[in-house]
Assembly symmetry: C2
Homo-oligomer: 198 residues x 2
Amino acid sequence: MAYDAPLTKEQILDAAEQALRRYGPDKTSVVDVARALKVSHGTIYRHFASKAELRESVTERWLQQISSPLQHIVQDGDHSATKRLRQWLETLAQTKRKYAVEDPEMFQMYTAVTMEALPSIVNHVDLLVEQVSLIIQQGIKDNEFKQGQPEQIARTLIIATSYFHHPAHAYQWTDPAIDQQFEQVWHMVLASIQAHSS
Amino acid sequence: MAYDAPLTKEQILDAAEQALRRYGPDKTSVVDVARALKVSHGTIYRHFASKAELRESVTERWLQQISSPLQHIVQDGDHSATKRLRQWLETLAQTKRKYAVEDPEMFQMYTAVTMEALPSIVNHVDLLVEQVSLIIQQGIKDNEFKQGQPEQIARTLIIATSYFHHPAHAYQWTDPAIDQQFEQVWHMVLASIQAHSS
């Protein structure tokens, strides 16, 4: 249809996400996506080199729903670094938990992509580390936190809280003790970075 | 054969472990195990109610190879609690890493059993928590560690170090940065429990 506007990447990703939800990651083919958009599969391949790349891009976009709201917490100058760090971690954990229950198909795909350690996941984690670094940096400047390398502290903190945000632990998030466990790990982390009041 | 000694649970577990290694958890049947032992499958069922129970018992026995050496570290009265805690954690992480590489079939089965949160895994984690509790208790008594509830501190510590011992993270253990990351999480954990020198 000659009057059609050219297909955008976003439109392909929308159709791919729908197909992935409907058929699952293993059964969805590029042909399914092309058919939904009424284009040839060649059109899809002009934007995405492979089915794997398409799947990774869908996950990448989905992950932005997780990292974007966290960015607001980083930039919230009204609160102390301690308060923001706590809110950041809690929001990350709760968003993941919510998606695990409410969006199981996409969450399962995200889990698979994570276990394959694909570049989009490495980027996602780097972005999270960067966000936490900024909070830590501010906390050091304000003497709330001890001196140290913000990026290294941030990465350590992300690793030490994996239980609450790494998708492989999703099966443990239904444990009634999860909130109490989060609280205790939070206090452990905080105690290790807080400047001692003199 | 009437002169045969009755089959022990250990013999069944040995045969099951061999079969599981050879055929994998999905393809191994109770009949395979019975055939290897030259008995009827009814004989196996007299000891294990189901294939799942047999698989879980094999994993349980395998896990004792991980927890038993750790028990020696707990009981080593020659070293400080800090030193023992560090050695305990490092041994746990390195043993898991070693098995992930050297015994991939059993490790994969252990991963599957873990993700199903089966009772044997809950027991294994409880045993680890108990071991760490004893070290923490001694550390508090000797004023190396701050006052607190040893069992709660131990569980928090196990959770905060999941990245290094939970099998779902095995794909991250080949990262060249893993030792440095362990070091940093260790220092974070230690800083949070250490008594401040007055």
